[in-house]
């Protein structure tokens, strides 16, 4: 219901709210009256700004990118552009936001579960390829933030789409018990210039000039290693992070882990001749817990049949059922900090090309 100083026109597809001005006070009042926003100030999505955003993308505003549960709102370019303006996006990044929405609404993501679970899961958006430099994403020092407009606003735009189009408001649509900071914004860029391995999308069969990966998981879990000059001791620390009993990966065997290596760690590993696949295989073997420890921790597990069939309590079970579920890429700047991002569990990451 509109407040007295608002005038509502248009139909459901193109509802327009008229407010007296776009002062912070007026916009706060609008957000409060509609239940809109993420709690931070917004840029007013005026008809002019949204038109400019769409004009830059050169696409059909009515083209549907996906349907966003649990509200089952239709994410058209137009609806996504409105949220991108609110988030403070530059028009150059709209194709990235749109690609991320397309990826998120792929069935394998299980977005309905991601949106409505009590788990704190948030979609991480990873930007790859030539658009990283063209649209001024930060793949280097501080890629997870803060300080870069493209990273910050693309991640925020995705959250606003999930809230507004998808209806995932905390307590109504989004049941996350505690939430997590990455629900505000969660976007990085791959550091291909400092990666010893082929660009991540190529490892997923996506050969495009620019691409986006979405992966639904926890906040990053840091691991540091200032001393190791070979892969085993370094990656054993990553494996240690992966073997926490608190993540969903401990009781759901299909879950992925994203291992985001800093350039210096990646160079150390690759300097010993290790490929991306070698890193995956090593972590699959090293990130293990005794069956007894896992079964003591959980009454219920969702394991593939071959894992469930192992009855030796001393057997060391992997934290995921396939080395391919351990996804490896490079991002960040100077220093020796990398991270592991455990999955929500019942979800798979998706990589798609960025295009108009």
């Amino acid at each position: 219901m509109a407040l007295p100083d608002q005038t509502v026109t248009g139909d459901e597809d193109d509802e327009v709210v008229e407010v007296a001005d776009e002062s912070p006070e007026a916009l706060w009042a609008l957000l409060a009256s509609r239940g809109w926003g993420d709690g931070l100030p917004i840029v007013a999505p005026t008809t002019e700004r949204v038109a400019e955003m769409l004009r830059a993308a050169g696409t059909d505003p009515d083209e549907q990118l996906g349907v966003v549960p649990p509200r089952d709102g239709v994410a058209t370019w137009h609806a996504v552009a409105i949220n991108a303006v609110m988030a403070g996006c530059h028009p150059a990044v709209l194709p990235v936001v749109a690609a991320a929405v397309r990826a998120l609404t792929s069935p394998e993501v299980n977005l309905r579960g991601v949106q409505s679970t009590t788990h704190p899961v948030a979609p991480l958006v990873i930007v790859h390829g030539e658009i990283v430099d063209r649209a001024d994403f930060n793949a280097a020092t501080g890629t997870f933030g803060p300080g870069n407009r493209a990273n910050a606003t693309v991640g925020r735009a995705i959250r606003l789409v999930l809230i507004h189009v998808g209806g995932a408001r905390p307590g109504a649509g989004d049941a996350s018990t505690q939430g997590q900071p990455s629900k505000y914004s969660y976007c990085i860029a791959e550091r291909t210039d400092a990666s010893p391995w082929p660009a991540y999308p190529r490892s997923r069969g996506v050969d495009a000039a620019s691409a986006v990966t979405v992966a639904c998981g926890e906040n990053p879990h840091n691991f540091h290693d200032m001393e190791s000059s070979e892969p085993v001791r370094l990656l054993t620390k990553a494996a240690s992070v992966m073997t926490t009993l608190g993540s969903n990966n401990a009781c759901i065997s299909q879950g992925e882990f994203f291992v985001v290596l800093c350039p210096e760690h990646a160079a150390t590993i690759a300097g010993h001749g290790w490929s991306r696949r070698d890193v995956q295989s090593f972590l699959y073997e090293r990130a293990r817990l005794p069956r007894r420890v896992l079964r003591d921790a959980f009454d219920t597990v969702a394991w593939v049949p071959w894992l469930a069939a192992i009855d030796d309590d001393a057997a060391l079970l992997p934290m995921t059922d396939d080395p391919d579920n351990i996804r490896v890429l490079v991002a960040g700047g100077a220093g020796k900090h990398s991270c592991v991002i455990p999955s929500w569990g019942m979800t798979k990451s998706v990589t798609v090309a960025v295009g108009p």
């Binding site: 597809d13 999505p45 949204v50 709102g73 409105i82 949220n83």
Partner: protein, 95 residues
């Protein structure tokens, strides 16, 4: 007085209309009542107890206790088909 600022709603339209609420069930005497366990710990215990209390009060019959394969995904089509035979299904959301 400055002209009004025209702001677009960020919600967009809903793809499919919300399902209409089911009508009144009427008397449950002799009618089948089912339970859909959502896969969360203790859900089966709680939901079955509610269904049994309901059956005692209304002379209904608890005819089926089914479970989703996982809490994180919707119930499978064959489960939904089985549940369709019941007059009332007792289930729950969240933990």
């Amino acid at each position: 007085m400055s002209p009004a600022v025209r702001i677009l709603s960020p919600e967009g339209r809903v793809g499919s209309g919300p399902a209409a609420p089911a009508g009144p069930v009427g008397s449950l005497a002799g009618q089948p009542v089912a339970v859909l366990d959502n896969g969360k710990p203790n859900a089966r215990l709680l939901l079955t107890a509610i269904a049994e209390r309901l059956a005692i009060r209304t002379d209904a019959v608890v005819s089926l206790v089914a479970a989703k394969a996982t809490a994180a995904e919707p119930a499978e089509p064959d489960i939904l088909q089985q549940l369709a035979a019941a007059r009332v299904v007792v289930t729950g959301s969240a933990d």
